[in-house]
Each structure stands twice: as structure tokens, then as C-alpha cells.
């Protein structure tokens, strides 16, 4: 039996406002298993220097729409971690 191959997907995670300030980054490329969710991308960001300042359950978006932490990701997806919104 052939060994199972682990498929990898690449996603871009965008950071804004206070989160971008805290990490000193506006975007980061993350390689994840093909089964990854938004929560996995978040875990990666929170492991970066300053990432512990991003809360465990921030507002998130995938491909320009609000998305939950359990949303599945695909190759090329654009994930965004959104600090508390303050428009209007």
C-alpha cells in the first residue's frame, strides 16, 4: 500500500489595524494541510512573535466574506483576521 500523501495548501492571511500593529505584519503566507480550517491558519498566526496578542476567537473572513473558525480552506484562499469593527 502506498504511503498516504499529505496534500498542502497555501493561503494568505491578512492582518489589519491593531492586529497588524501587534505583529508588525499586514499579511503572511501559510502552508497548511488540505483539511485545514480557519482555526488552523489562526493558530499559525498566533504562534508568530506578537501573535499572542490576537484573541483566540477573532472575527474572521475568507475570500471577502465573514467566516467561522470551522470554515474549510482551499488553495489560494485569502483569510483575514479582523479586529473589532469600528465603522459608522
Amino acid at each position: 500500500m502506498p504511503a498516504p500523501t499529505t496534500q498542502i495548501i497555501n493561503v494568505r492571511v491578512l492582518l489589519f489595524a491593531s492586529y497588524a500593529d501587534r505583529l508588525g505584519l499586514e499579511s503572511v503566507r501559510v502552508a497548511l494541510p488540505a483539511s485545514a480550517t480557519v482555526a488552523d491558519a489562526l493558530d499559525h498566526v498566533r504562534s508568530l512573535p506578537g501573535g499572542d496578542q490576537v484573541p483566540p476567537r477573532p472575527l474572521c473572513a475568507v475570500n471577502l466574506a465573514h467566516a467561522g473558525l470551522d470554515t474549510g480552506l482551499a488553495e489560494g484562499d485569502e483569510v483575514a483576521l479582523l479586529p473589532p469593527l469600528a465603522g459608522g
Binding site: 491593531s18 473572513a61 465573514h66 469593527l85 469600528a86 465603522g87 459608522g88
Partner: protein, 146 residues
């Protein structure tokens, strides 16, 4: 359609976009930059956005309002550096009668505040700067420094 604006918002332009001979009721809401927040004197502020998503979310909100009520909706949100009294956000709605115009106008501004990825950095009279966090009841801002 672009909902985000780097230049000043002209309310009359929004109203003109929704007016129609069939519509007898026009409602509008203007959100202005306040000179105080959480007991602190505000000197000016800066709005930033996740531009592509903010545009998409504004379009969804307008579409939802126009499908829920028989109205036409215009919406604009300012981005960049604003002074006290500047218009930060403007909504205009028009319908045959006032009920649907008021209801849709209220819906749109509430959904904009709840869903559109825009952030506000306040610059205070005492020199401090902070990102505004409406989810914090008392300490409503995270101070970046003075």
C-alpha cells in the same frame, strides 16, 4: 459601485441617487466625527478598511435592504484622515412611503457598524493615539502610546 470614499461625502449626491418620481419618502442618516470619546477629547481620527471586503459587504447590505423593503439605497463611508464634524458615513433610502424608508435606513447603518471591516484610530487632544474597540464597554480603546 464604490462605497468607500477618500474625499468628502456629499449628502445631496446620495439623496439624488435614490430619488424617483415614484418615491414619496426619503430618509437619511449621517454619522459625524465627534470631538469626544470615553471622556477624552478627540482631535481627529483616521479610518482604515479591508477595502475589497468592505466594498463587498456594503454591496451585500444594500442588496439585502433593497430585497427586504421596496426601497432604493445609497451608502458611502469615508476612509482616511477626518476632522471633527466631517461626515464619516451617510445612508439615503427612498421608498413610496416613509415607513420603508426609515426602516431600511436604520437597517443599513446598523449592519454597516456590525459587518463592514472598517477600523478607527483616534488622536486625542493630549497626544495619545488609540484604535477604537466598540466591544469594550468601559475601556473603549486600546491606547497605542502618547
Amino acid at each position: 459601485m464604490s462605497f468607500l470614499s477618500l474625499s468628502p461625502i456629499e449628502p445631496a449626491t446620495l439623496v439624488a441617487r435614490v430619488e424617483s418620481p415614484a418615491y414619496g419618502g426619503v430618509a437619511s442618516f449621517l454619522g459625524l466625527v465627534r470631538n469626544h470619546h470615553g471622556g477624552r477629547a478627540v482631535r481627529r481620527l483616521e479610518y482604515s478598511a479591508y477595502g475589497a471586503m468592505a466594498e463587498a459587504e456594503c454591496a451585500r447590505i444594500v442588496a439585502e435592504a433593497e430585497s427586504r423593503w421596496p426601497v432604493r439605497v445609497a451608502l458611502a463611508h469615508r476612509i482616511g484622515a477626518l476632522e471633527i464634524g466631517d461626515i464619516a458615513v451617510a445612508v439615503a433610502t427612498a421608498g413610496a412611503h416613509r415607513d420603508e424608508a426609515f426602516a431600511a435606513c436604520r437597517f443599513v447603518i446598523e449592519e454597516v457598524k456590525r459587518r463592514v471591516p472598517i477600523w478607527k484610530k483616534e488622536f486625542y487632544q493630549d497626544g495619545a493615539v488609540a484604535w477604537v474597540d466598540p466591544t469594550r464597554a468601559s475601556a473603549s480603546h486600546e491606547v497605542l502610546g502618547t
